[in-house]
């Protein structure tokens, strides 16, 4: 790591008059593999390193990045950047950060089967073994990616944090066809760990099983009934719903309008804290510290210690996601949600691992107590408006529930619902949580960041299905 260059850059920015300075030096080494229809399409490896410097000068915020570690070059672009920030000061907003504790830490995520010890051939064979079980499908697109991210963070208030986080992710996209009809399945898995996670995912067995189920759904599924009914949603649907309609609208940069031009704003306002948003049994948690999770970290990119948070507690809006800038504006403290996906972009408020807390019921009990409805176990498509209020989920694997039993498969049932209705209609929550991985996009330039989301099976009472 270029720790001494980071210290040099911090001092240099201070010499130029910056009141507050923070520096991130990052080194990322990665490997990527694509298997398309059984054919190894491309394999790659990369080593990226660079430095990102964020500063406040006359209360105006500036950010500069480079992958050139030459001291003279860094001094030169810092001078230029500070000059750009000064030039824009007459049309700039005063930015202040909340006071936070000085942190000093070094942490590493352990790997049992190290990324560095796996050859390209071995990694590619992981995809080939999975593909071996689904060769009958006309189109299979599988990717495997691993990365080791080393980061050194420092700021002018004395914080120094070093982290070492390995990540593995595997994505598959399948087209399942039968009699001129098709259904497609996209799913990704991710973990902060070594390659030991592959066995745990057990995708060699799970993916062919999923493909068989979806084929059966395609062949034997009935048209979805329409109207108000009980809708049981699986962990996968609960996960995407909690990410899109709880996590995102609780991001305070959206609430304050900072992301309005691209990622949008929020239907949530500051005044809604401690007001009802869902039924009493609903609790939503955001927790970056979950071990081996895809969104894992212990300190954010402002050097603030991460912690578990209840976004919804007993159906009430409980806490938002903050960085130091929004915390100052809302007169509170940061809760450690500031993340950048690389050294060359500013940190933004991001989710990490977001999930619905488990309840008391088993999946069987929820089905058994539903007289008539639909079980939407997985989804094929979703979207939500930019205030996170109107959303739509189209079911993938789905079944009719009749007299407390799963009967026939249903093709593509649609839930198109407003956010308060969704979270207020939940009357049963399962006791087992499943989590799923994703890359969440936000910001300009676009930053895709690893996130994890999930929950238990849940029943939504009397929801309109299309």
């Amino acid at each position: 790591m270029h720790e001494e260059i980071a210290e040099f850059s911090l001092k240099k920015a201070q010499e130029l008059g910056c009141r507050y300075v923070e520096v991130r030096v990052e080194e990322r080494s990665s490997n990527g593999f694509v298997l398309k229809n059984g054919n190894p399409d491309i394999s790659g490896f990369d080593m990226i390193s660079g430095i990102g410097i964020r500063y406040l000068i006359n209360n105006n915020l500036g950010f500069v990045s480079t992958n050139n570690f030459d001291r003279e070059k860094i001094s030169q672009i810092l001078r230029r950047s500070v000059s750009t920030t000064r030039n824009s000061s007459r049309i700039s907003k005063d930015v202040c950060f909340s006071d936070e504790k000085k942190e000093a830490a070094r942490y590493k995520v352990a790997q049992r089967e190290k990324i560095q010890d796996f050859t390209g051939d071995k990694k590619l064979n992981i995809l080939k073994e999975i593909d071996g079980g689904i060769k009958k499908l006309p189109q299979r697109y599988l990717t495997l990616h691993d990365e080791i991210a080393e980061k050194y963070y420092l700021n002018s208030e004395g914080s120094r944090v070093y982290s070492f986080i390995p990540k593995i992710s595997l994505m598959y996209f399948l087209t399942i066809s039968e009699s001129k009809k098709s259904i497609q399945r996209y799913m990704s898995h991710g973990s902060s760990s070594g390659y030991e996670i592959i066995k745990k995912w057990n995708l060699i067995e799970k993916i062919p099983e999923e493909a068989e189920i979806l084929k059966d759904n395609l062949v034997n599924g009935i048209k979805s009934p329409k109207g108000d009914m009980d809708l049981v949603i699986g962990s996968e649907v609960a996960g995407i719903a909690v990410h899109e309609s709880v996590g995102h609208p609780y991001e305070t940069d959206r609430i304050l309008g900072r992301e309005a031009a691209q990622a949008g704003e929020s239907f949530i306002t500051n005044k809604m804290l401690n007001t009802k948003i869902g039924s009493k049994i609903v609790n939503v948690i955001e927790d970056p510290t979950l071990e081996n999770s895809y969104g894992f970290y212990l300190y954010d990119d402002e050097g603030v210690k991460a912690r578990k948070k209840y976004l919804i507690k007993n159906g009430m809006v409980n806490e938002f996601l903050h960085n130091r800038e929004t915390a100052f504006e809302m007169n509170t403290h940061s809760n450690g949600c500031s993340r950048a996906n690389n050294y060359d972009v500013e940190p933004l408020i991001r989710m990490s691992n977001t999930y619905v807390k488990s309840g008391d019921s088993s999946e069987d009990e929820i089905i058994r107590e539903t007289k008539k409805g639909i079980y939407m176990k997985s989804y094929m498509q979703w979207n939500i408006d930019d205030k996170r209020y109107h959303q739509r989920y189209t079911g993938g694997e789905a079944y009719m529930i009749e007299k407390g039993e799963l009967t026939r498969p249903v093709i593509a049932p649609v839930m198109e619902v407003k956010t308060p209705t969704l979270w207020s209609s939940i009357d049963m929550i399962g006791n087992k949580i499943e989590m799923y991985a994703g890359n969440c996009g936000k910001g300009n330039p676009m930053q895709g960041i690893p996130v994890y989301f999930g929950g238990p099976v849940m029943r939504l009472k009397n929801i309109m299905v299309k």
């Binding site: 399409d41 080593m47 030039n87 824009s88 309008g257 498509q381 109107h390 309109m464």
Partner: protein, 431 residues
């Protein structure tokens, strides 16, 4: 940097690599982000990198070098050789383009953009929108890029590009907003005030929106709203996406409606124009869909050889991709509808099934009910839930005015008119 790319190219060939493509890029950028009429962040970036694509016995490797020293290049090449022993061949790979080539395209270039006063320009943009809206939010980006491409296929070519991008969203009261972007390779063609004026104009029109009844409507897509859909359609024309299941354009020479869709990397003012593609083939205009008939997919040299056709100069060394999309169809009065909906922006387009074309997308900012050719009501809370093949079949006519649109939802710049499409399914969350 110049000497390093020749060194890498020669050394890799010496070591038995069959195809080598080495691309160096030196990028300098500035970024002003503004929120509620004030700049909240200035950004500066300086990045140099070398990307390397190589094949050895059909084994394809992609990597990059960020430290330009000879010793780091040697380390990287050693790793490439080791890595190539570890992986397996791509039987679908048929080699890079063989040059040398002659390059004719002349792309607009403005050397001075990095030295201009970006704050003065941005201030004009913000102030223009504030003449009729209450608050504005957006981005202003300035970029200079130098690219040098050397390949084992006798290509050695250099290019400079300059670009300016502005995105502004204007707001009045709750749910009353308008969004517009502009992009250009030169300052003289950069219409920041006109862009701001349009965003604010939509925000004013969007006064007091109401929910619309679900159903099928003729829909008029503004330039901003149609460009993201053109991105989806053009990406579906990449042969890579057809092979992977990401395309609804599955019938070459099949009829998809009555419109023309082209890719053109040679347009002087095209935001993504470049004299050459990623393997050095001179860019050109490619008619993908000619009056409704799908004439060709987008190819690079390797995919073209596989399908016994010519490259369309759209490398992407792995996945062919468009440079600048150009759309055309019958000109007409796009507001000639008894009852329809005018949409000025879309957001979060997602496919339920790429192969079938089932998708939905969410109109955002101003959306309007149109009766007998006139806007009568501002709308909110609606969604398009339809099929892309239906949409293409139902294209009726387009306006004469064409704008180049690039946005968060339309990463590939599109030269598009406003377009009237019949019989589009509009849905909404009822509760």
């Amino acid at each position: 940097m110049e000497s390093i790319i020749y060194y890498i190219s020669k050394q890799l060939s010496k070591r038995g690599i069959d195809d080598v493509v080495v691309t160096s890029s030196e990028m300098e950028g500035k970024h002003l982000k503004f929120v509620n009429n004030k700049v909240v962040k200035t950004g500066s970036e300086l990045t140099s990198s070398i990307s390397i694509f190589c094949s050895k016995d059909k084994k394809i490797i992609y990597t990059s070098l960020k430290d330009m020293s000879k010793s780091k290049a040697d380390e990287l090449m050693k790793k490439i050789m080791e890595f190539s022993r570890d992986i397996q061949p791509n039987e679908d790979y048929y080699g890079i383009a063989k040059g040398p080539f002659r390059y004719k395209a002349k792309v607009d270039y403005d050397r001075g953009i990095m030295d201009m006063n970006e704050s003065d320009i941005l201030e004009k943009g913000i102030n223009k929108a504030l003449e009729s809206s209450k608050r504005t939010t957006g981005d202003f980006e300035i970029l200079h890029l130098k690219t040098h491409l050397v390949t084992s296929g006798s290509v050695d070519v250099l290019d400079h590009s300059s670009s300016l991008y502005f995105s502004i969203r204007a707001f009045n009261k709750k749910d009353e907003s308008g969004h517009m972007t502009c992009c250009s390779n030169t300052l003289k063609n950069f219409q920041i005030e006109k862009t701001s004026e349009r965003a604010a104009e939509i925000a004013v029109l969007a006064k007091a929106p109401k929910e619309v009844k679900s159903g099928r409507y003729p829909v008029i897509f503004s330039h901003m709203a149609f460009a993201p859909l053109l991105n989806n359609i053009s990406e579906a024309a990449s042969i890579y996406n057809v092979e992977s299941g990401f395309s609804f354009l599955k019938r070459l020479n099949g009829r998809y409606g009555n419109f023309t869709l082209m890719d053109d990397g040679t347009l002087p003012d095209g935001f993504n124009s470049c004299r050459f593609d990623e393997e050095g083939v001179p860019t050109k205009r490619t008619v993908m869909v000619d009056r409704g008939i799908l004439k060709t997919y987008l190819h690079n040299a390797s995919t073209a050889r596989k399908y016994r056709t010519e490259t369309t100069a759209n490398a992407g060394l792995i996945s062919p991709r468009p440079f600048n999309i150009v759309f055309d169809c019958k000109k007409g009065d796009i507001f000639d509808v008894k009852e329809g909906i005018y949409i000025t922006n879309v957001w979060y387009t997602r496919f339920q099934n790429y192969a079938e074309g089932d998708f939905s997308t969410i109109p955002r900012d101003g959306a309007f009910l149109v009766k007998n050719g006139k806007i009568v009501q501002s709308l909110k809370g609606l969604r398009i839930s339809d099929n892309m093949l239906n949409l293409l079949r139902n294209i009726k006519c387009c306006s004469k005015d064409v704008l180049q649109i690039k946005s968060w939802e339309a990463e590939i710049p599109a030269f598009t008119p406003e377009v009237l499409v019949d019989d589009i399914n509009i849905t909404k969350a009822e509760h």
